[in-house]
Amino acid sequence: MYLLFILLFPLALGSFLLLAKPKNAFVISLTGSIIEAIAVAYVLIQSSQSPNSLSISYPWIPEAGLSFSLWVDGINGILIGLTGLLIPFIVGSTAKTEKANNPVYQGLILAMQTALVGSFLAKDAFLFYFFFEASLLPIYFLSAQFGGENRIAITFKFFVYTLFGSLFLLIGLIYVYLRTPGEVGSSDIDVLVETARSLPATSQNYLFLAFFIAFAIKMPIFPFHTWQPDTYTTSPAQGSMLLGGIMLKMGTYGVIRLVLPMFPLGLITWGTSVMILSIIGIIYGSIIAIQQKDAKRLIAYSSFAHVGLMSAGILTGSLAGIQGALYQMLSHGINIVGLFFIIEIIERRTKTRELSQLGGITQASYMLSVAFVVLSLGSVALPLTNGFIGEFLLLKSVFDQDMWMGIIAGVTIILGAVYTLRLIQKSMFGNVSRITKEFEDLTSAEKMVLVPLVLLVLLGGIFPQAVLNYSAESVEKLTQLLN
């Protein structure tokens, strides 16, 4: 029942906001997201003590063997935790803006949460697919209605592109589903995994590609990323946070949950090629990030580079790779929400994100620059920040697979420093510009969001073990399937 609560509570509250349009939307939304976070924390503690005790399953379309079943294990628990953790910050980041008490805006954020949590909780593959697609709607409206320049064309492209990708996923799912045993078949993920694994190599090869392409577009992986920088840039801050902080993890999660266990033979055929694409993405994204003039676009490309490394690590199918990716999903979510928020704060005050027009902000707001530097250090994986744990394990996994791939992927720690330090210097350091001259220090509402995020960057770097232990057992079980 707890799972049903954490799935539906945000949607219920979101619908209320969307339909009743109450005046104090911000308070309702923030309180709701905090209640949700507490419930999620309870679910995670429960599930770590007695696995599967919380799973539920109702018949959905019994004639076809589809069921409405939810579960939590060490893998999706991390992502449910990430969602529960980040949404209060995302809601909180609207405080004192015109969006704070916009019930539609808040309602869409909460509706999005249900779609995200649903895709992670689903034990039934079609249910997963349903939420995977459903998540497009709230984010589409958020971006198309509240976004910046050129938002209609850009969000349309994003919508169609990802929808196009998931069609392959749907076809692949149906193909495997039709081969499940029993009279009516089943779309339970475990059953699908069993079925798919026994398929011949040729089928697995096609299916691997069909599944992977959907997730590759979602993450995105080179060369399927062209929707991403535009969409991240034009979305409103909270939209970018949802996209980069949580939604892209649907893609990486899908690879871990479905692609790896279902198609081990497909992985043998295609693993190296898609790993190379992921690693190209790391370098490609980083190199493009170096010259970006718009701070938000720079972060978008850096996110693209980061997710490439996650993908490469996952594709090694190793304990270090998957554990590292899970940890990095968590860290990356925290860091990118913080970074997007800081860029939003700068934009609120200066009305621009152009690096050439910024500078010297540390002189006006010491605290903002400290937060920015700490979050950036997390992003460049300095030891004792959360980013290091993930990147260390990910790079190690890629390196163990292939030395040269590991070294090339490792160049990210150099290029990451290049573009991140440039971002810091152009915005925070140097002389104050005409428009940063009157820069106002952080408000208490902004501090309430930034300070905890900064602390999480450090806590995550010093005490990673709690999270790594949480997922260890499930990931070990998964890697055993691959050997």
């Binding site: 400290v370 490792g410 720690i413 420093a417 232990n469």
Partner: protein
Amino acid sequence: MSLFYLIPLLPFIGFLINGLAFPKLNKQLAGIIGTIPPVVAFALSLQLFLNFDGQTQIYTLAEWIKLGELSIPFAFQVDQLSLLMLLIITGVGTLIHVYSMGYMAHDAGLGKFFAFLNLFIFFMLILVLGANFTVLFIGWEGVGLCSYLLIGFWNQKNSYGDAARKAFIMNRIGDLGFLVGIFLLIQDFGTTDYAAIFSAISEGNVPENVGLIAFCLFIGAMGKSAQIPLFTWLPDAMAGPTPVSALIHAATMVTAGIYMVIRANVLFELSPDVLHFVGWIGLATALLGAAIGLFQNDIKKVLAYSTVSQLGYMFMGLGASAYTASFFHVMTHAFFKALLFLGAGSVIHAMSDEQDIRKMGGLKSHLPITYITFLLGTIAIAGIPPFAGFFSKDEILASLYHHDPIMWWLAILGSAMTSFYMFRVFILTFFGEFRGSQKQADHLHESPWTMTLPLIILAIFSVGGGIINLPHFAGGNEFLAHWLAPLLPAAGEAAEVNFLSLEGGAPLLAAFLPAALAIYVFGMQKSVPGSDESVTGIQKVVYHKFYIDELYDILIVRPISLLSNFLHQIFEFLVLDLIVEGVGKIVQYASTEFRRIQTGNVGYYIFMIVVSVTVILFLGLKTWIL
């Protein structure tokens, strides 16, 4: 909880207090709060040192990263090597904190400055105390961060920010090598613990790729210790306040690479090729740094190139397996180079932030303490007996003499250049006529006691520091060699030196003759280097640092910018996006075309049905038959 943990913890607490209370905290108080941690840490380290019984102690705090079989704990190791490093870091650190109270007294960012200094001490202690290569790496990257923050301390100036970035990025290039070395160690040994790795090797468990591991670790050392080709960040790092140059970019952080090679000497001893490479890189860096130092006119730049060059000497020693000699030089260099930098800081302070030695001169009467201590530092670095630098450098040279005579000759050449450029700076700064402005002249003053006291203490160590490893012929007992012996390979250290032989005499001549030449040219002839435009020919090439920065710019920086622009503006939009949009367009086009099929003509529909059924039947038949 052992008192031991206080040693790294105190600077961290100092960092937190000053970091969080800035800018509200009173400046004087901030300075005192910042200085207490290194003082107490030094006292604790001293106590640890005096009570050390020769047994390596491991302190394991907690598990950090655990993954399957791999376990990386927060573990610290107290042994002969880390104890000495502790004393250098906290000892020199204390002096430099005291000095900074005076030097930075007028700076609005003083609290922040002390916060960063404390953070640096914290990470540096983690670096030397780590009991495995991963904890070493925490400190390694952490000091890089502090170096970045402190070089860019006055970041309003864009060029300072650029220097800070350059330092961090060049260090990161080295760090990638280090990281790869760590991955290889994990592959081969399943751990990064020193004790486990070295005991596995002593049991004969030598992996095939041990040379590669040593090489990767050395790449890390090249970045951190500013060796060719990753040395160009160190001279630029002089943008930071002078106490930072003394502490981080001379006495401690830049010697981390030497520390690491000594720590991993078991691995390096198994890789003679890598050791050879280490030695030659060191030699090339030593000569290049010294050559550039000959013509620099910025007092801090001279000292910076001198540091690059001296670090080269230390690596030369390592290349010849003379670990004790190299470490000896790390220690004496920490004393005399910190002294010289702080002395330079005192001069700059008096000269109202002027750093150009062409505008100085005759300062000895105005800054008597700075003058005498700077002189002592100059004598020490030049290698004139019986000052500290003489003994440590001589040990390196002696080991080279037996290792490779060509390297020895070249090292003597570098030594001669060192002596010359140091006396050149010294004479131009303190002797002759004052060449600055009237305003500067009116302002000239000796620095406050907070600044001169550290100078005096460091001067005492620069003069007498040789006692740490005084050879038998000079009445010593080679304390350092005996102390470090448990960690080092048995052979390798040089025999006694005979001063009447070539081996003993050449270094002395290389120290005295160039010094005399510099005194003659700049002291007696009173010649002053001309303006930047007046230098020509080979001298100009050297003055401009062999145009290495420009070369890197052309070879690396600009191609990456071009590539970035190409990928972003051409490839991304004209290739990838066009394909994506193209697919969309094709679908759109196809849909308009297919719409034409729906003509509304029933006869046409029936025709299509017949065709379709035939095709389906044919295909079905085919599979049925097959």
